[in-house]
Symmetry: C2
């Protein structure tokens, strides 16, 4: 087990273009004389005029469109875009949407010029897990703060038939730029705003709630972002509250939650995501809402292994000081649970009318995806994951 | 005056290679088949074997050396390197040293392929202030945490005859990579360690102690780094304390203090640096030690303009809660002063045997360098700067 800050590389070349009315700068940001494919999801970017603004900002270019990238983007859909890019020789991709569209675009950009079958970009029994060594360049216009995909090099793709959510990443998969206009969040409904807050919160926790190695910068940055989400979360989910700074802070927090600035040299967990992905794959609950089910239960079941960091979390994030260590841990967990509930996300399966029948199928999924030794110490066995699911019923 | 988080671009493509025994990776990081010029300062990188380790890590390459880049690197010295690079057609530069060597290398890399006279890279009455539009690629091996130059695109150069310290920056002036080995700090004397702590501290303050615009991520990150320096500073300056994490936290804090992650969308001051640079230029006091003279005095003189942020600083960085607002401000200032003194840096001119005779020459220097309307509101006149110098006697 690591006892010091470990060696790390930090590299993040994405240019962030943040603020009001930045979409017109696409003309500068997107290379001229390139065939550009704009990728988006459902109809909201059409309905709210974002797509029109994007196209207006790109005069005198050959532009194509590929819509219909779903939440939890599927390999099947994305491969249609890969074929389109190849057939029409698109040279630059522009994702307009949230994490799903951006993740999908990362795969399309890599898959379109991959040497071999793009399925082999994925491992875990689906493909050969080959490295991505090149990618078409792409940029993003972010409409939904949540995943941090706009400033990192990772992506998650869903395989419908195989009921799997699998990730890949490469040094070639960073967006060239990402436009972050907080005002684009003004059209989001409460549920998506809440999902964004929860997803960001758990991203931070996966990089923070492990065991202490003395990474003071990493810990202070994580605690600052967690405090920010706790402070603004209840206001952010008011879809009618169009306070600019509120949404700007939300957007920039979500980006920093997963641009790796929290992670260098410290252990990471990601077990909540692993357990949550299987819930989405089998029971189609929103990604963030699965995390709200898993994390509080995981904190309870794993409180011994995460004891030191849980106490630190209680003291530094929730400012719980006048209590015993055990009380601090219990209070921190219950406050986390209450925070998710306050955001409208249930923390138990029963509130989705799901019961004990879900546990064995979920555990079987974990086993199928070789997630039998996860968490920061690789000591979260299937049995422990089973107890976490059971504890969340 | 800005009342919200303003529009910003954030871009930082430098690859950080952090930890133990990373110098051998230079073989991967430095392009092969390029003529490489290694730049360094005084003899310490020779004496402690760092230069040998660097050269060993670069087999089968044509390598040259340019030593003697001084603290506060001079234009005159750097132009000799520019001529050498041109004459010998060096294609990649490798800075081995602290902020002075890295700053110098940034200028050499830009100056060697500048269209025109490199003096025109500077403004402020010295040159024409023309933009840098290209640069030779360069990397760094950092030996002294302090300036953040290893992960930003700015540099300060000293003009001896003209008694001026002038800066430049460009999007082309980021290091391609920087190797950060905390163990390289084990040979540093107390005074240089203290200078690094103070320099980093004031870099953060220049981006934090302005007026509030509600940038929560930026403020929490700044407060986290300030707290870290307050916590570790007194231990860091013990040159015999070779605790790895202590030095790792110091190094990573110093880098983050000026890689712009604290700055996006919030006001910045930099008046302490402006006033400090003139002290170095006229009286040859170490850069960091001039900041220890200027900042506490500036906080006192400018406490009305910086009132809200001073209270926030008192509460969130020094945890002063049980006091009136005015008491909080006074306590925060006196604690800042005590922190610098504890690090061995005097906060008054008199401790350098300098008196009132310094004030008018310093003010004249500010005037000559067109620093007549500085700070976050551009409202720090020469008269206010004079009062700050007088208050620091």
């Amino acid at each position: 087990m690591q006892t010091e800050i470990s060696n790390f590389n930090f590299y993040n070349p994405t240019e962030i273009v943040f603020g009001k009315n930045r979409i017109p700068e696409l003309d500068r940001l997107v290379p001229k004389n390139k065939k550009v494919l704009i990728l988006y999801g459902g109809g909201s970017v059409v309905r709210f005029g974002t797509l029109d603004k994007v196209k207006e900002a790109l005069p005198n270019r050959t532009i194509g469109e590929f819509g219909g990238i779903e939440a939890n983007p599927t390999y099947e859909t994305l491969m249609k875009a890969v074929e389109l890019v190849k057939a029409e020789n698109y040279e630059f991709l522009l994702a307009v949407g949230g994490g799903s569209v951006i993740d999908g675009t990362k795969f399309i950009a890599a898959g379109a010029i991959f040497d071999g079958d793009p399925i082999d970009i994925f491992g875990a029994g689906i493909g050969k897990g080959l490295p991505v060594t090149k990618s078409l360049p792409f940029g993003t216009v972010l409409t939904l703060p949540a995943t941090g995909s706009e400033m990192n090099n990772g992506a998650v793709v869903t395989f419908v038939e195989k009921k799997a959510k699998l990730s890949f990443g490469s040094p070639f998969s960073f967006p060239k730029f990402s436009i972050l206009e907080p005002e684009l969040t003004y059209t989001l409904p409460t549920r998506q705003l809440a999902n964004g807050v929860i997803d960001s919160f758990v991203h931070i926790m996966e990089q923070y709630l492990t065991y202490p190695v003395g990474g003071m910068v990493q810990d202070r940055f994580s605690e600052g972002l967690l405090q920010t989400l706790i402070e603004i979360g209840p206001k952010v989910i008011d879809e009618k509250n169009h306070d600019y700074n509120l949404r700007a802070n939300f957007m920039w927090t979500a980006t920093n939650a997963l641009n790796r600035i929290l992670a260098p040299g410290v252990p990471q967990d990601w077990a909540s995501h692993s357990l949550g992905h299987e819930i989405t794959a089998l029971y189609h609950i929103d990604h963030a809402r699965t995390l709200a089910i898993v994390l509080p239960s995981l904190m309870e079941i794993r409180q011994h292994e995460k004891r030191e960091k849980l106490i630190q979390y209680a003291e530094r994030v929730w400012h719980i000081t006048d209590a015993t260590e055990d009380e601090k841990i219990q209070l921190a967990i219950s406050k986390t649970r209450a925070f998710f509930e306050q955001l409208g996300a249930p923390t138990h399966f029963k509130e989705y009318d799901l019961g004990e029948e879900v546990v064995e199928p979920l555990v079987a999924q974990l086993e199928k995806h070789q997630l039998t030794a996860i968490s920061e110490r690789r000591d979260q066995t299937l049995e422990i994951s089973r107890r976490i699911y059971l504890n969340a019923l």
